[in-house]
Subunit: 327 residues, 2 copies
């Protein structure tokens, strides 16, 4: 029992609230097996209602406890919360976010919270693709909030944050100068700054530094005024205010047109990435791979440059008979 119809049936059950079907579909999408474009099309048609909130920041900034506190707050308000914890560094180490799963145990009996850790045993590109699909199915299946939590501060994290409607960058006092450089890289993607562990010494200075950087960044007229909020996940202080800020940001996005602009950028990027994947598939397709191998031979014997080989390939896409003639 497999194939496209099977996946659509699992998706139908997942939408109806059957948790094992949702979990199974997530695993299928994460693995990225072939034959999923039908169910991904159905998911795409249904998605677009959830508020996708990205949370990123340096290791040690207490993101996981913060996310747990946010989930508790949203449950109090009667909203459902799915949490996708992504660890791009696991592409190298193979590690998973077991710690996060364990810390979230208090929620495992609550049907209104779902936690999923995603690690990558393959490429970073594969992880971004899998995260996109998993977030989409959670959105389509009716979760009110989908949190996308990343560990670390590299380019991969920035790319994954671009999936979100609202990006919160979490800082923490006393992590030293390295963090300042990181903040500069993350500054442009932050919709909300959070100073977590606000009970630690130096929290006020960290908040002031962030405000100073935001003032220097010289936001254009009419832009969202990025707030700097302080939280203490253990107390818990500032959590309700942070949830309110998520909602404020979303309302502002819809009123200002920035929400639509962001969705267009996201769709364009999605099409580009899928087009790139499709091109790579085509180059491995039996019908073109013989011609491709012929071009590789000519590049290796240096009778043709790689750039000219690409010219020949693209000509072949337009006029499939041209490559045969060239051989």
């Amino acid at each position: 029992v497999s194939g496209p119809d099977y996946h659509l049936e699992v998706y139908r059950k997942a939408k109806a609230g059957h948790r094992p079907s949702l979990t199974r579909l997530i695993s299928t999408l994460e693995a990225g097996r072939p034959g999923l474009s039908g169910v991904l099309g159905a998911i795409h048609a249904d998605a677009g209602r959830a508020h996708l909130v990205g949370l990123t920041g340096a290791p040690g900034s207490g993101k996981s406890s913060l996310v747990a506190a946010l989930a508790r707050q949203l449950r109090k308000r009667g909203r459902t919360v799915a949490i996708v914890a992504v660890d791009p560094s696991s592409a190298l180490t193979g590690g998973a976010l077991l710690g996060d799963r364990i810390r979230m145990d208090e929620h495992t009996l609550d049907q209104g919270v779902l936690v999923r850790s995603m690690s990558s045993r393959g490429s970073l590109g594969g992880l971004a693709r899998a995260t996109t699909d998993v977030v989409a199915v959670l959105d389509a299946a009716g979760w009110d909030y989908v949190f996308i939590e990343t560990v670390g501060v590299g380019q991969a994290e920035v790319d994954i944050m671009r999936l979100a409607d609202t990006v919160a960058v979490v800082s923490v006092p006393g992590l030293g100068d390295d963090i300042q450089a990181i903040k500069a890289g993350l500054l442009e993607i932050a919709d909300i700054h959070v100073v977590n562990k606000s009970d630690l010494p130096g929290a006020q200075r960290t908040a002031s530094e962030l405000l100073g950087m935001l003032m220097m960044a010289n936001a254009r007229e009419g832009a969202w005024p990025v707030p700097v909020l302080s939280t203490d996940a253990l107390a818990p202080g500032g959590i309700a205010e942070l949830v309110d800020a998520f909602d404020d940001h979303r309302r502002w996005q819809e009123a200002s047109g920035e929400g639509l602009a962001r969705r267009r950028r996201r769709a364009a990027e999605r099409i580009r990435v899928l087009a790139r994947d499709r091109l790579m598939e085509r180059l491995q397709d039996p019908s073109t791979s013989a011609a491709f191998d012929g071009l590789v031979d000519r590049v290796v014997d240096r009778s043709m440059s790689p750039h000219d080989a690409v010219d020949a390939l693209f000509e072949a896409f337009t006029r499939p008979e041209s490559l045969a003639g060239r051989k």
Copy 2:
């Protein structure tokens, strides 16, 4: 005075041994300006004679001193050496390998040694592309050995190492357990293992562990027997043996056919990357961008899935009139 003919003229002078022209051309290729496919074609036709040697390993393993010692040894043998030091982490930090430049100062008056540090202010993909082009021009301009030195141990470093004919992975005793995980990731790309700082305590154990891992890796029949060599860049010990190992590996590659297989893999990967870049350019081309924007709109309003949008795009590449009809 610019344009394709200008670049070809600079390249002609660089080949004739004019160092300022070579330096200028390297900067041009590093920046990746448009209009370079002519000179890149000429470079490709001339390249393929240098021995490209990759050196990688964890920070602190003494790679830079080792490369300096190798350059001295090769100069004694009358060979010329170009060194390209690549720092993928600079894509985030913007840093450059100034330290390496300074340590190599002893060579700056020797016309038989060239040192170039490459950092990336843009994407990692851009850095890999720039490194490929810079290594190619050094090869084409007649350098006997081109060393490609990377700092760090991530996927980006592994990708850059794939440019090399011979990859040496540098380990050092006493860097702790983290290094063991790293070695596992680098194990499959190592043609030669080097235990540097062999005067440190634990050097013998590090070498034994590497030999143990190699035995467990169960090399297939007829494969290159990966050696584990010990060096002490300051003494200097083992440097001549390491240079001999580079040469042994190259001779074995040519005799076994593995050299040709590696060149084919490298050419195929190069064509794939350039094809991907070309596709991205096409999507930004004015003639297709209006149609592309139309597809983005339909994905945003969820009347079309991203996968179906890609189908439409590829159909348009084959039959350019089809997109116009769809709008």
